[in-house]
C-alpha cells in the first residue's frame, strides 16, 4: 500500500488544494501559505541538488575508473568540483560566509566562472549568425519575414541604425510594442491556458506521468 501511487496522488491533491484555497483566504494562517510554500520548495530543491551532483560526479568517476576516451577531462571536472567545494568550506569557516569579498571562493567566481560563462554564451553569437544564414536560405515568406524583422530590430538598437534612418529606431519600437507584443501575448495565453489545464489534471490525479 505504501509503495503504490495512492499516497503520492493524495499528497499532490492535498497540497494543490491547500495552495488554491489559501489564495482565496488572505488571512492567517492561509495568507502566508504561498510565501512559506515557496521557502519549502527551495529547501526540497536544495536536497535534490545533491542527486544531480552525485549523478554528474558519479558518471565522470566511472569514466575515469574505466580509463575511457577523454578520461583526463573527467579528472579535470572532478578536481574542479572538489577544489571549489573544499575552498568554499574553508572560506565559510574562515569568514563565516564563502561569499566574502576577500575569500578565495569569490576569487574562483570572478576569475573562473564569470569569464567561462560569458565566453561560452558569447560563442553563441557566431553560431546564431550561421543559423540566420541557414534560415535565410529557406527562401519562403515566413523565414524571410523572420530575418527581416531580426535585422530591423538589430539595426534599430544600435547607433548605426539611426545613421541609416532616424525612423529605424522608432519602427523597431513599433515592432516591439505592436505586432511582437500581439503574438507574444497570444503565445503566452496559449501556454497559460495549457499550464492551467495540466495543473488541474495533476491535482485531480488524472495526469500521473510524473510518478512513473
Amino acid at each position: 500500500m505504501l509503495k503504490g501511487k495512492g499516497i503520492p496522488i493524495f499528497i499532490t491533491f492535498l497540497v494543490g488544494m491547500i495552495m488554491i484555497i489559501s489564495f482565496f483566504i488572505p488571512h492567517k494562517p492561509f495568507g502566508d501559505i504561498e510565501k512559506i510554500s515557496l521557502n519549502w520548495y527551495s529547501i526540497i530543491a536544495g536536497f535534490t541538488m545533491l542527486l544531480g551532483v552525485d549523478s554528474l560526479i558519479g558518471m565522470h568517476f566511472r569514466k575515469l575508473k574505466r580509463k575511457d576516451e577523454n578520461w583526463f577531462f573527467s579528472l579535470v571536472l572532478i578536481l574542479g568540483f572538489t577544489a571549489t567545494v573544499v575552498v568554499g568550506i574553508i572560506e565559510t569557516v574562515r569568514f563565516g560566509t564563502a561569499f566574502d569579498d576577500k575569500s578565495y571562493f569569490t576569487y574562483i567566481y570572478n576569475y573562473f566562472i564569470v569569464p567561462l560563462q560569458s565566453t561560452m554564451f558569447s560563442l553563441l553569437a557566431f553560431f546564431i549568425a550561421s543559423a540566420a544564414y541557414r534560415a535565410f536560405r529557406a527562401r519562403n515568406f515566413d523565414a524571410t519575414l523572420l530575418l527581416i524583422t531580426a535585422i530591423i530590430v538589430m539595426l534599430g538598437r544600435v547607433p548605426l541604425g539611426e545613421q541609416i534612418s532616424p525612423y529605424l529606431p522608432k519602427f523597431t519600437e513599433w515592432i516591439m510594442q505592436v505586432p511582437q507584443m500581439a503574438a507574444k501575448r497570444g503565445i503566452g495565453l496559449g501556454i497559460s491556458l495549457g499550464a492551467l489545464g495540466v495543473s488541474i489534471r495533476i491535482i485531480l490525479g488524472i495526469e500521473r506521468s510524473y510518478l512513473s
Binding site: V15, G16, L56, G88, F105, L124, A150, V178, Q180, L211
Partner: protein
C-alpha cells in the same frame, strides 16, 4: 598579484573557449569540463549558504521553528533514490513539490497572466487614428495567434486564414526575439574582447 594571476587565468580560459571556433580541441574540452565542475561545486556551496542554512537550519535551531521538519523530511526522502529498495519514498517528495507547483500554477496562471493579458488586450477600437490602428493590430494579432494554436478542429475556411495570418505575427515575434538574442550575445562578445584588450593586454585604456 592575485588580481594579475586571476586576469591571466581568465584570459587563458577565454582563449581556450574561443579556440572552438576553429574546431573541437583539447583546450576547449579542458575549459568546458572545468566550467561544469567548478559551477557544480559553486552551486553546492551557494545552496548551503543561501537555502539550507538560512531557510532550514537557522530558523529550526535558533528560532525553534520545528514545522520546518516537514520540508526537511521531504528533502531527505528525495535522497532515497540512492537506495533502490526504498526509492519509492522519493515519490512522496515529488508529489509534494508537483502539488505545490500545480496549485501555484492554477492561481498564478489565472491571476498572474491570463487576466492581466486579456485585460491589456481589451483596448478601444473607436476613432480613426494611429492608436486605434495599433490597438486593432494587437487584438487581431492575439486572436489569430490563438487560432494558429487551436488544434481541436480542422483548420479550414476562416480558421485556415486566421491561422495563416497568425503565423505571420508569430514570425515577426520570433524575428524580434532572435534579433534581441543576437544583440545580447554580441554585447557579451564585445565584453570579452574588451576584457582581453583592456584588462589583459592593456592595449585599450
Amino acid at each position: 598579484m592575485g588580481t594579475t594571476i586571476g586576469i591571466w587565468i581568465a584570459a587563458g580560459l577565454t582563449l581556450f573557449i574561443y579556440s572552438f571556433l576553429y574546431k573541437d580541441n583539447p583546450f576547449y574540452k579542458f575549459a568546458e569540463h572545468l566550467y561544469v565542475g567548478i559551477t557544480a561545486g559553486y552551486w553546492i556551496i551557494y545552496t548551503w549558504a543561501y537555502v539550507i542554512q538560512p531557510m532550514l537550519l537557522d530558523p529550526m535551531i535558533k528560532n525553534k521553528q520545528f514545522i520546518l521538519i516537514i520540508p526537511a523530511f521531504f528533502g531527505i526522502i528525495m535522497l532515497t533514490r540512492w537506495f533502490p529498495q526504498i526509492s519509492w519514498l522519493s515519490r512522496w517528495s515529488i508529489a509534494f513539490t508537483v502539488g505545490m507547483g500545480a496549485g501555484l500554477g492554477v492561481t498564478g496562471a489565472i491571476q498572474g497572466f491570463i487576466l492581466p493579458q486579456v485585460q491589456a488586450t481589451l483596448v478601444p477600437l473607436t476613432g480613426f487614428n494611429f492608436e486605434t490602428f495599433n490597438n486593432f493590430l494587437i487584438v487581431f494579432g492575439v486572436l489569430t495567434t490563438l487560432i494558429y494554436f487551436y488544434f481541436s478542429k480542422e483548420q479550414k475556411g476562416v480558421l485556415r486564414w486566421g491561422s495563416k495570418i497568425g503565423i505571420t505575427f508569430i514570425m515577426v515575434a520570433f524575428g524580434a526575439s532572435f534579433g534581441y538574442t543576437v544583440m545580447a550575445r554580441i554585447s557579451l562578445l564585445i565584453g570579452r574582447i574588451y576584457f582581453l584588450l583592456s584588462d589583459w593586454l592593456k592595449v585599450l585604456r
